[in-house]
C-alpha cells in the first residue's frame, strides 16, 4: 500500500499531464507497423530533401551531377565539415558552442602568424591547436565552474574572442602568406592532393570525421558523454563524472574547430579576421539537420556530414543555375526551417514520445512542486 504520491515523471505518460493547449496525440491505439512507419517518417525528411536537391539541380543544370562538379562540392565543404564535426561533440554533450568561430580564427591567426615569421610547420600547427585548447578550456570553465548556460557563456567568448582577434591583428588587418616561403608540410594541409584526384582537405575531413565519429560511437568516453548529455542525473547516478565529461567535450569541440582553422589558413595562405564565425550558422543547421537522421534524434558525425553535404549541394546548385549569392542564405534558411518544422510535425503526428520530440520540442515546463525534488544540474564535485 502506498502512502504518498509518486514523484512526477518528466515524460508525460497520460494526456492530462500535459498543460492544456499542448495538443496531444497519445492514447490512440495503433498497429506496430503504423507506429514504426510513423517513427521512421521524420528520419526520412533529410534523405528526401537531399534527393530532391540532387534531382532538381540535376535537371536544371547539366553540370551539376558530373563527377568533377561533385568533387568540387566536396572540396568546398571540408572546412564547414570540420567545424560542424566539432560542434557535433558539444551538441552530443547536451550543449552548444557559439564560439567555434573564435577557436577557428585564433588558431588560424596563430598558425598564419608563425608561418609568416618563418617558424616550422609543426610549430604553427601545435600553436593553432593550443589556442583551440585555450578557448575550449575557457568555455568549459564558464559552463561547468561558473554554471553559466552554454549559449550565453559561448556567446560571451564569441564577443571577447572577436575583440582579441582585432587587438592581435592591429584592428583587423589580414595576414597574407603569399610573399613568404610556406613550409611544404603546412602547405600540404590545405593544398594536398590525394592520388592526384581528390582534394587533400577532403581526406583530412574524412580522417577527422572518422576519428570523431569513432570516438563518439565506439569508445567509453563517447558513450559516457552521450549519457551525460541526454540524462545528466541518470548519468550521475550511474557513477559518471558528468561535469568532467561535459568539459572535455567542449575542449574537444574547440580543438577540432582549431584544426579547421589551421587547415583554413593553409588553404587560403592567409588569415582574414572574423572568417570563422561565418561557418557557425551553417554548422548549427547541419548538426541539427543531421540529428533528424538518428533514431534517437541524437547529433552524430555521419548525420552532421549529411547536413553539411545538403548545404554544400544547395549552394553549388544555386550557383550553377545562376542564382546570385544573395539568394543562397534564403535557400538555406528555408530548407533548414522546412526540415525542422516537418520533423516536428511528423513526430507529433506519430504521437510517440520519441526522442525527436525531445530534440525539437520544448521540454515540459518544470512545475513548481516543492514536493518534487528536482536534482537538476548533476555534478560530480563539491562537498556535502
Amino acid at each position: 500500500m502506498n502512502l504518498t504520491q509518486e514523484r512526477s515523471t518528466p515524460a508525460p505518460t497520460t494526456p492530462a499531464n500535459l498543460p492544456p493547449g499542448t495538443g496531444t496525440a497519445a492514447g490512440t491505439p495503433r498497429t506496430t507497423a503504423a507506429r514504426r512507419a510513423g517513427a521512421l517518417a521524420p528520419r526520412l525528411i533529410t534523405p528526401v530533401a537531399l534527393a530532391a536537391v540532387l534531382f532538381v539541380f540535376g535537371t536544371m543544370s547539366p553540370v551539376f551531377l558530373t563527377a568533377g562538379n561533385l568533387l568540387g562540392v566536396l572540396a568546398q565543404l571540408s572546412i564547414l565539415g570540420l567545424v560542424a564535426t566539432g560542434l557535433t561533440i558539444a551538441v552530443r554533450a547536451g550543449g552548444i558552442d557559439l564560439s567555434i568561430g573564435v577557436a577557428l580564427d585564433l588558431s588560424a591567426l596563430a598558425a598564419a602568424a608563425l608561418i609568416y615569421d618563418g617558424y616550422r610547420a609543426w610549430v604553427a600547427i601545435v600553436a593553432g591547436l593550443l589556442f583551440g585548447l585555450l578557448v575550449g578550456a575557457i568555455n568549459a570553465a564558464l559552463i561547468f565552474l561558473l554554471r553559466i548556460p552554454p549559449f550565453l557563456a559561448t556567446l560571451s567568448v564569441w564577443f571577447i574572442g572577436t575583440s582579441v582577434q582585432q587587438l592581435l591583428t592591429g584592428g583587423g588587418a589580414p595576414t597574407y602568406l603569399s610573399s613568404r616561403p610556406v613550409p611544404e608540410g603546412f602547405a600540404l594541409l590545405g593544398h594536398g592532393w590525394f592520388l592526384d584526384t581528390i582534394d587533400g582537405t577532403i581526406l583530412i575531413l574524412v580522417l577527422v570525421a572518422l576519428g570523431t565519429g569513432l570516438l563518439l560511437s565506439a569508445t567509453r568516453w563517447g558513450r559516457a558523454v552521450t549519457m551525460a548529455g541526454e540524462q545528466p542525473t541518470a548519468a550521475a547516478i550511474g557513477g559518471l563524472r558528468v561535469r568532467r565529461l561535459g568539459a572535455s567535450a567542449y575542449i574537444l569541440c574547440s580543438l577540432v574547430a582549431a584544426f579547421a582553422g589551421v587547415v583554413l589558413a593553409s588553404r587560403t595562405t592567409s588569415f582574414v579576421p572574423g572568417s570563422g564565425q561565418s561557418y557557425l550558422m551553417d554548422a548549427i543547421g547541419a548538426v541539427f539537420i543531421g540529428a533528424t537522421l538518428s533514431k534517437f534524434g541524437r547529433a552524430t558525425v555521419p548525420g552532421t556530414l549529411v547536413g553539411v553535404l545538403l548545404f554544400a549541394l544547395l549552394s553549388n546548385g544555386m550557383n550553377l543555375i545562376g542564382l546570385s549569392f544573395f539568394w543562397q542564405g534564403l535557400g538555406r534558411g528555408v530548407v533548414l526551417l522546412a526540415i525542422l518544422v516537418l520533423g516536428v510535425l511528423l513526430t507529433r503526428r506519430a504521437g510517440s514520445p520519441s526522442a525527436l520530440n525531445a530534440l525539437f520540442r520544448r521540454p515540459p515546463p518544470r512545475t513548481q512542486s516543492p514536493k518534487t525534488s528536482q536534482p537538476v544540474a548533476p555534478t560530480t564535485e563539491g562537498s556535502r
Binding site: M1, T219, S373
Partner: protein, 507 residues
Amino acid sequence: MTSVSEPVLLCLSGIAKSFGSARALDDVDLTVRRGEVLGLVGENGAGKSTLIKILTGLYTADGGTIELDGGAVQINRPADAQSLGIHVIHQERHLAGRLTVAENLYLGHLPRTGWLDRGGLERRAAEDIKRCTGQSLDAGLLTDELTVAQQQLIQITRAVLAEPRVLILDEPTAPLASGEVEQLFGTLRRLRGQGVGIIYVSHYLQELQDITDRITVLRNGRNAGDIHLGAGGTLQDVVELMVGRTVTEFDHARTPRTPITAEPALEIEALAVPGALEGLDLQIRPGEVVAITGLVGSGVDVVADAITGIIRASGSVRVNGHAVRDSAGFVAAGGAYVPSNRRRDGLLIRHTVAENLTAASLRKISRFGGFLSKARERALSGRLIDRLDVRPADGDAVGGSLSGGNQQKVVLGKWLATEASVFILDQPTSGVDVGSRAQIYAHLNGLVDDGAAVLVVTVDLEELVGIADRILVLHRGRVVADLSGHGVTTDRVLTIASGAESVKEPA
C-alpha cells in the same frame, strides 16, 4: 457536523476509467452534501487522483454520471469544472515564482483597467487573503520569497475567491506546521458553514478525524466503503478498509535474517537536507535490509537522493568504509542507487537495454584502453537479461519502450553488473507489475543472502513489512520510530507515519 438532511450537492455514480488495458476506476460512487467535509483516502493507485482529475476535467470518465445540485453535468475540460464551481487546490503549487503574491492571486483575472494599480492590487490581495484565510501576508512579496505554507495561502485564497460550490483539497497539509494546519481548518470550517462541499484528500488520518464528517475509502479503483467518524466509525476502521482486510499480525513467510558481519557496510551520520530532513543516523550491515518510510513531506522523498550525493546534504555517508562525497564516489565505493523516478533518473530511455545494463560498468566492456567491445557488451548484458528475465530478451530494444517492470529490472541489472554491495532502492516497485515485483524481490533477497546491505525507501507498506529487517518511520523530517521488521504490521506503521500515534522510544 452536518446532518444527513442536508441536500446532496455532488453525486458521482458508476464512474469508470481505463488507461489502455489498465482499469483505474471501476464503478465508483461518491457523494458530497452541502456543507460537508468528505475525506477521501486510499493507497496510491487506488484511484483517488484519477477521480479528482475526472472531477476537474483533466480526464474524461469512460462511464458513469456526475450530478451537481441534482442535475446531470458534463465535465470535459478544466474550464467546465471551473464554470460549474468545482475548484481544486493541487498538491503541486502551480505558481509563478517571480511574480508577486498579488499577481499570482489574480492571474488570469487581472483587472482590465488599462493601468494596473499595483499598490491597490496588493492592498486588495492582502485583504482578500486575510478575509479568506484569516492570515496576513505582504502581497508585494515575490512568490519565490514565501514559505510553502504562505504559497498555499495564495492557492486557498484563489480557490475561495472563485466562490466554489465544491472545493477539493489534495494533500493540503503535508508541508504545513501544526499551527498552520489549524488555520487551514478554520478556513475550511468557515466555507463549510457557507454550504460549500469539500472533498479532502489526505493520508494524515489524525487530521481527517479533526475535519471530516465522513470518509470514503477507495481500494484498487473501487469503493471500499464509507466510514462515519461521528457515528461510531474509527480510524482503525479506515485503515482496515484501506489495507483491504482486517489486519492482525503480518505473517512473515521468511525467517529473520542475521547480519553476516558486524562491520557496517553503510554508515550514515547526521544526514540533513535543509527543510526536508533533520539528521538521519543509520548503519546497515551486510546481509541486512533496512526500510525507511513516511508520508509526503516527511523527508522520505529526499532521503535516497541525499545519501547517494545527488542532492546537497550535510552529514557524512560511508560506504564499505569509504567516505562518499558525490554520486561517482558512491558508485566507486560499491554503492548502487535505484532512484524512484525511473524514466528520468534511473533508465536511459534513449539507450538500448544492453547500453543501460552496462552503463555503470563501461570499463568492463572496454578494451584497448577505451574502445567499447560490442562482444563484451553483448555477453555481459546477455547474461543479465537471462538472469533478470528481461522481456523482450533483446539487448537492442530501446530502454524507454519497455514496460515499467522490465525497465526496473534493467535499472537493477545495471548494478548487478557492477557487483555492488550497498543498494539503495527508492520506491523500487512503484509502477511495476505483480510478476516483475516478485522477481525483483527474489533478486533482492538473493543479493542480501550473498552479503549485500540494502536500504529500501518505500511508501508501499506491504513491501516494507514484507521485506525489511528494520523499519525507520519518518515524520516531518525526523525519524519517529525504529521498528524491528519482524512482527510489525502495516496498520501500525501507517498509524505511526500518519501521526496518529507518536512513538517516544525507538523499539
